[in-house]
Point group: C2
Chain length 337, copies 2
DNA sequence: TTGTAAGCGTTATCAG
DNA sequence: CTGATAACGCTTACAA
């Protein structure tokens, strides 16, 4: 575990200058003989180039950061799983930041770009504040934001279309004859929460169903909080025949609560979720869910960032990933192998 | 997005030398007046220190790498979730490597330590080869390995005790009156696969049960492969009354197959898994599982690495995390709220 | 207390 | 083709 060899060590060993060593190592035209001596010296010494020194000179770190609230969230996890190989293939390492959806923490990450420890950043803020937008536009490295930002913000932006997504799910429930469709959402001051709330109301209107506030309950985007919210909802609207959940974790909580209450899914109450996380297909009854393309969004973000890293001055781009309804047993009762 | 200010910029602005700027920024004793001028210049310019330059000088990157096969695996995920905050609190960033359990890839990561882009590495190889051990001992930065390595290997090592773990589960099944206990394992040439295979045989002996090879099936550590293996097992040993699964993903596959075959869990067949992943508590029937302390192992690894980073020359340490049986409905039928 | 200068390991320029 | 040398941005003796 001694100090590693540097090009200076190699230069001495090979009896050449450090400049020649550098040239050989970078494949620049060099006399055959010199090449051999340098390479064999490097080989014998087990030389590995120091990436820090290289970065200082080249101003590139070959690292990219991904910042999300919590890697434990299946949606962010799905994104990481897509982002990682794309970056790796392009020669970048992935630096992970968990921000706990804390605004100050997120701003720190953005400011931290000034430290130049990464070449770019993919960030997925749960809430988007004025401070975010300012920090994003002042950022010292390219940034891609996953999650809608106001139009006109000068940043690459990947969006889901939860509006259409909710619509797909409600159309589906409606087509199955459900008319008392409850809605369990997360906090309304979040990007997804507000979007899905509006979408639910719109979809009802489009279907000619009345908006009944007894059918709406707010909890949080986690299983336990979702379960609690569903309990409250069931108490207030015992006659509901379907529940639209703003994400799959909530929906899993719903399945649990319904089972404990002796309500059959989907015979008595159909359940639909959103995000199509892995677990949705793994539980019983398997969960009907609207995929918002987590994986696609992750990949798109990585590709957009790579593109910008190669091409700094192009106009910011907005990519919207379309939703897709995945029908499973929790609404139809049919096994999907 | 112009080039950021450096200490030189600040020095000019404040009318002092770069040395003074550096001193002020590092809190070294400096005249009050100079401090003020430097700080205000830094403030006005929005100065952020360049971590690459700092690293080159200090020989520390404040980055640590974590390398595992696939972040999608719930066990590794649980580890990351523990490792990340520990490192963050200590001022380190986390660099993530997915190796797909590819030996060459893992060796690359180890060799890559020579690039000095991280101060240390936590690695969890699925298989441990001679090449691994050589590369680990030649590594140019501190390494912590999660997963048993041969005694005497000069590396910090975090171990699970799956031997005791399997024993706990089999004792439990036996105490419930089960006598035909099947075993579904992953590949035997992996660290966990071989350990659990041996443990199963030992536990049977301890319980006075015969080893029946019709009760043993090998698949892989994933849900789908596990399900397939369980199908084969059921065909070969239709009279079994319990299934011990080498991990929870396999066990989830088992629940699915049993349900499709109309076997009630646990009335007809009790099922136990291993790792106690989040999903184990979330499915129905909830899965009895042996926790091998994924979170604890992650935390221990991070702490061991931090300790070594502060204290390079101590002897390698081995930490074994004890297993813990978590009893749920898949063996007892009782709801656990 | 402060400034000058050396050095961290590379890359790249510019003479020879 | 090759070697000396100057950056890259920062920390740290060493002098003043």
């Amino acid at each position: 575990m001694s100090d590693g060899p540097t090009i200076t060590t190699i230069a001495e060993r090979a009896g050449v200058s450090i400049a020649s060593v550098s040239r050989v190592l970078n494949g620049l035209p060099t006399r055959e003989n010199t090449v051999r001596r340098v390479l064999s010296a490097a080989e014998e010494l087990g030389y590995v180039p120091n990436s820090v020194a290289r970065s200082l000179k080249s101003r590139r770190t070959n690292q990219v950061a991904f910042a999300m609230a919590d890697i434990g969230n299946p949606v962010y996890l799905a994104m990481v799983r897509e982002i990682q190989p794309v970056l790796k293939a392009a020669g970048y390492r992935l630096v992970l930041h968990s921000t706990d959806a804390d605004v100050a923490d997120e701003i720190d990450v953005l400011r931290g770009l000034g430290e130049r420890y990464v070449d770019g950043l993919i960030m997925i803020p749960l809430r988007v504040s004025e401070a975010h937008l300012k920090a994003v536009e002042a950022a010292r490295a390219p940034v891609v934001i996953i999650g809608s930002v106001p139009d006109g913000t000068r940043v690459d932006n990947i969006r889901a279309d939860s509006r259409t997504g909710v619509r797909l799910a409600l159309d589906h429930l409606h087509s199955l004859g459900r008319r008392r469709i409850g809605f369990v959402n997360g906090p309304l001051d979040t990007v997804p929460g507000s979007a899905r709330s509006i979408a639910y109301a719109e979809a009802l209107t489009a279907l000619g169903l009345p908006y009944d506030e007894n059918l709406v309950e707010i909890g949080d985007f986690y299983r336990a909080e979702g379960a609690a919210a569903v309990s409250r909802l069931l108490a207030r609207a015992p006659d509901l025949d379907a529940i639209m959940c703003a994400n799959d974790l909530i929906a899993l909580g719903a399945l649990e609560v319904l089972r404990r209450n002796g309500r059959r899914v989907p015979e008595d109450v159909a359940v639909a979720g959103m995000d199509d996380i892995d677990m949705a297909a793994a539980v019983w009854p398997a969960l009907t869910s609207v995929s918002l393309g987590s994986a696609e969004r992750g990949r798109a973000a990585a590709e957009l960032l790579l593109d910008r890293l190669g091409n700094g001055e192009r106009e910011p781009r907005v990519v919207t990933v379309p939703p897709r309804l995945v029908v499973r047993a929790s609404t139809t009762g049919e096994e999907t192998p």
